[in-house]
Amino acid sequence: MLNGELLYKGSEEEPFADFIKMAYKNLETDYSKFFKMDSLSKLAFLGADVLLKHENVVPEMEENIALVFSNNASSLDTDRKYQKSIEDNDNFYPSPAVFVYTLPNICMGEISIKHKLYSENSFFIFENFNPDYLYAYSAGLIEENKAEKVLCGWVNVDKEEYTAFLYLVTKEKTEIPHTIKEINSRY
């Protein structure tokens, strides 16, 4: 969904891996590095990509867009995969390609690399979606001129459960006010 408009719908039964691959194809995202990302990065990357493209953010502009993300499963989904690759003595293969994704904030790195964001970024782990914190943190970044815009939200992957909710806060006022109430109503 983008601003209430459905962009792509997967089927109920579909595993995450198939869903995200089809979404990538349907959204015409042409970025070969996508395929080596872990699930969390794929989800965050696609969410950010549709939103930033819609907002006409182009890498060449090197805009000062901060990233403030959150979730409650950290990188557990990939941590488990990595653990599996090292727990069997006969089939021991600690792949560096998997290892690099055993941190949640790597997904922000992937977005930064694609969109050329040399800006502030922070990833928070909360029990539940925490609009109060996200609001205060992003409003602070804008007020203190640390960023022109803030890409904010909740990106969570835990086995087959996944959610991505991202929004862009800007310095200039838009028709959607930046308030905790508004964030809650759209989540």
């Binding site: 560096p96 690099v100 904030n105 790597i106 790195g109 930064s112 690399i113 050329k116 964001l117 040399y118 800006s119 502030e120 970024n121």
Partner: protein, 398 residues
Amino acid sequence: MNKGVAITGMGIISAIGNNVEENYSSLISGNKGISRISKINTIHKNAIMVGEIAFTNKELEEQLGISPDNNYSRTALIGLVAAKEAIKDANILDIAAYKTGLISATSVGGMDMTEKYYYDYLESDAHRKYIEGHHAGDSTQKIAEELGVKESLVTTISTACSSAANAIMYGARLIKSGKLDRVVVGGADCLSKFTINGFKTLMILSDTYNTPFDENRKGLNLGEAAAFLVLESDALVAKENKKVLAYVKGYGNANDAYHQTASSENGDGATLAMEKALKVANLRPEAIDYINAHGTATGNNDLSEGRAILRVFKDAVPDFSSTKPYTGHTLAAAGGIEAVYSILALQNNVVFPNLNFTTPMKEFAIRPQVEIKEKELNTVLSNSLGFGGNCSTVIFSK
């Protein structure tokens, strides 16, 4: 005029000395601390060289007067040695007299004990006490307790090789904003199989002495070290008539936005970090007298950092050198030990040599300072560039 945040004490333990004085003496006499590894039994022992601290854990425990049934990792032990020296150097008798914080950096944490006893944990409870010492925050908590830092701000920063530089930056900001009167900042990292094997996998460990900014550089030597600074507010300095060693004049942190482990070809993040630090310090590039480079001696870092230095300083690059040939790359602690070296450079008006350099790199004409050089120094810029593109610069001044 922004004079910066006052530094009133420092402490250090590294492969080239167990305190500030010993480190300085090694720096000016060109004594490297790089050798074959002796304290960790690794299959790579003949393929790598490291910067090891001379003391065993037992010796460190005895010096610190910690009971033998402790659960200190080596990171916590060396961290406490350096932090105590810094407190003593700052002549702090009652730490609770002012609102004092501790910001400590580490990447290894208690991994040394975990890898030693991991399989043993399942069999017996003899070493299970170390499980609680595993996480990165444990060494910070232990140092805070030993120093008597309570009820203020105690936190741990783990942003790979820029960690301690970020701890200094965060501490300086807390003083500037008046949140704390005093803060102990720095970091500690011990050697572990975890980092040896990790860097070995990335194929960036040299099998001989590391040679920063040399055309034929073969990679880095890992090292272990800890270093801390005491930062104090102007009000505290005036009230207690404290001796100021130097000032944290500027700082900057930027995202390289390039790769999980590699630095960008043209050092985008490092360039931004240096520019931001100069802006905070309100200095023009020509005001920098000496750069303590990150200079890890990997193919990628030295090219990327060298290009970034050229982008910032153009055709007037000041004297620069990397002190990694002395200590090895001490990861999260590097920004702390190089802060101590930058302050020593300012105090003694001396540029430390970039040891082991023989052949200039073909990509650019700049060359590190290879001999010890005495000259009047007013400002030293120190770079710490971390994995994940976390690039930091701190500027120190008299």
